[in-house]
Amino acid sequence: MTQNSILRTIAKFLLPIILLYAFYVQFHGDYSPGGGFQAGVIFSSAFLLYALVFGLDAAAKVMPDWVLSTVACLGVLLYAGTGIAGMVFGGEFLNYSTLASEPVAGQHLGIILIELGVGLTVASVMLIIFFTFARRIRTQ
């Protein structure tokens, strides 16, 4: 597939659009349908397309394994950290109202951070799953 110039051109054209859409779903998730999970899947689908068209090795160069597993862990830590921040400022675990001077602003900030954590973890775990299975097929 790597030789097909139509595929390569279209893929290159689509990649930034998919990524941009992922960011839109991620950061507009607090106002409109969407959020971290959906955005993470869309984000990872861009790299999936890249891997399908340009090959696994090229994709692994862009997203090495250690980056993926690190980002997956950081996402969880960001989630838990936001929850603990709520406790430090005097609320319960995951109570975002205390994060800013105003409860509404705090809720806003909290949900964006939480969803960012979810998005990071989902995107990287989706790619880890894909790479794991794809490599198995290649070695057979």
């Binding site: 997956a72 969880v76 603990i84 709520g86 609320g91 319960e92 675990f93």
Partner: protein, 505 residues
């Protein structure tokens, strides 16, 4: 401020600590460091859980509203005597496993996945603790899934190729069980409009007994029964316990099914009224299934050719005792069940730890290869004998205490047949335990074995101290809690009175 940060949120920290340390473990991925972190976190959770048990034993119920959303809309952690008891069992076993784990994991799991292994262990621990603490039935489902997914991964890491097969088998059946439970929860939500367990119980009090509710009830019970491996839904258990890495066998055998039994008790006695259950024929089913499980599990255990499989089938039988106690529907029966939950965690944990040590030395747990091993490993062997005597129910051990309680409950309810079965079960346990002792101590080894040879800095053919210490702590626990029943019996009795009193606040 830091002091209130901890004391105000004790219930939450119990879940947050493992959640925080799991990703850190993956990032660190240094075997010793990760092991140490695992030990520290498990021990801290044990201390917190004991503190909570102490707090609630004065009669208070701890309420914690996650995220500040007031219940019944938000997720509430509601901790009474029963919740605290289960949390203590789980975290105590996790701590014992953490002490035990290092050498065993070093031998059985390849080094580059140690971080992932311990992270999965912490996630499983987190899920089980969450189930024990939460007061929201959907949140309970989520934790059930977290612990199950983590345990599938843990089981699949076993060295034997059959581990993959068993893990997949467990995955299919476990997912089925979880789905049943989820559909049941969904139907109950449709009937009551709430997911908070206390609130759901309140609205169920005046709800008409519709087919919808009955279906919800049946689905929840069957789903949990699958997770708890209640006969005849136990098929996943023997393979999963037999082929998992030793540490995982210890932890799952000591906690996973117990927590599922707790969910069953919680759903039957707190969410649905006990009277509700009386209208159905469930109590009789539970008693009969418990009886059949005792006979079937013990019989299968007698005919096993490997130590792990034997203990796994013995677990099926021991779960039968707990289920039977629930089926009696009396305070005495429930007390016996809860007590057996704690006691069985101790003795089965100790047994599997001993197996782990044998596996460490001989690389297998089949009887053919273990002949005479008990004489070469006297410390391991005698600790195992203590736990095995508990399994039989010899006076002076924990097994006796809980079986005695169960017998009394059976006599009180005039279930003469069940009295016979309980006694018969003990006899059968004596048979398979004797078989184990005979193989390990009285039979002659067929092959030469390496003994205490030094090579470099390692000594081959010697049992690691950490593993032996953890084993002995558990084995002595079997005797200690058999003689001094104050802590275990009282917390079980206290939990039962709270449970039967109804839901008060």
């Amino acid at each position: 401020m830091t002091s209130t940060l901890f004391t105000d949120h004790l219930a939450a920290w119990l879940v947050i600590l493992p959640l925080l340390c799991a990703p850190v473990m993956v990032l660190l991925n240094r075997s010793k460091l990760v092991w140490l972190l695992n030990l520290v976190v498990s021990a801290s959770c044990l201390i917190i859980a004991l503190h909570i048990l102490w707090d609630v034993s004065t009669g208070t119920v701890i309420h914690y509203a996650m995220g500040g959303w007031t219940p019944p809309w938000g997720i509430e952690y509601r901790i009474d005597g029963l919740n605290a008891l289960v949390a203590v069992i789980v975290s105590a076993m996790a701590t014992a496993c953490a002490v035990y784990a290092r050498k065993s994991v070093e031998q059985e799991i390849s080094v580059h996945v140690h971080g992932l292994f311990y992270a999965a262990f912490q996630l499983c621990f987190l899920g089980l603790l969450g189930i024990a603490l939460t007061g929201d039935i959907f949140n309970l489902f989520v934790f059930l899934e977290i612990s199950s997914l983590a345990s599938y991964a843990l089981i699949a890491m076993g060295r034997n190729r059959k581990a993959l097969n068993s893990a997949f088998h467990y995955l299919i059946l476990g997912t089925l069980g979880a789905t049943f439970f989820l559909i049941g929860v969904g139907l109950a939500f449709a009937a009551t409009g709430t997911l908070n367990m206390a609130d759901m119980a309140l609205s169920l009090q005046d709800a008409a007994n519709t087919p919808l509710l009955l279906t919800a009830f049946a689905l929840i019970v069957v789903g949990v029964a699958l997770k708890a491996a209640i006969y005849p839904l136990h098929l996943w258990l023997p393979g999963a316990y037999a082929y998992a890495p030793s540490v995982v066998s210890v932890f799952l055998a000591a906690t996973a099914t117990k927590v599922a039994i707790y969910v069953l008790i919680r759903c039957l006695f707190s969410v649905f009224e006990p009277d509700y259950m009386l209208d159905t024929f469930l109590p009789d089913i539970l008693v009969v299934l418990g009886g059949v499980a005792i006979l079937y599990g013990s019989l299968r255990a007698i005919y096993q050719e490997g130590m792990k499989k034997m203990l796994a089938y013995s677990s099926v039988a021991q779960i039968g005792y707990m289920v039977m106690g629930i089926g009696f529907l009396s305070a005495a029966g429930l007390t016996a069940s809860l007590l057996h939950m704690f006691n069985h965690a101790l003795m089965k944990g100790a047994m599997f730890m001993a197996v782990g040590l044998f596996v460490y030395r001989v690389n297998t747990a089949t009887f053919d290869n273990l002949k005479g091993m008990g004489r070469e490993m006297p410390y391991t062997f005698f600790a195992m004998v203590l736990a095995a005597l508990s399994l039989v129910g010899v006076p002076g051990t924990v097994g006796f205490v809980s079986k005695w309680q169960l017998l009394q409950a059976a006599l009180e309810n005039r279930h003469w047949g069940m009295v016979m079965i309980i006694l018969l079960g003990s006899l059968m346990a004596a048979i398979y335990v004797w078989k184990l002792i005979e193989v390990l101590y009285f039979q002659q080894p067929e092959k030469l074995r390496v003994q205490g040879v030094s090579s470099g800095s390692e000594r081959i053919g010697r049992s690691p101290a950490g593993m032996v210490i953890a084993l002995w702590v558990m084995a002595l626990g079997c005797v200690y809690f058999g003689l001094d029943t104050d802590l275990s019996l009282h917390s079980a009795q206290y939990a039962v009175t709270e449970l039967l009193q109804g839901r008060g606040n």
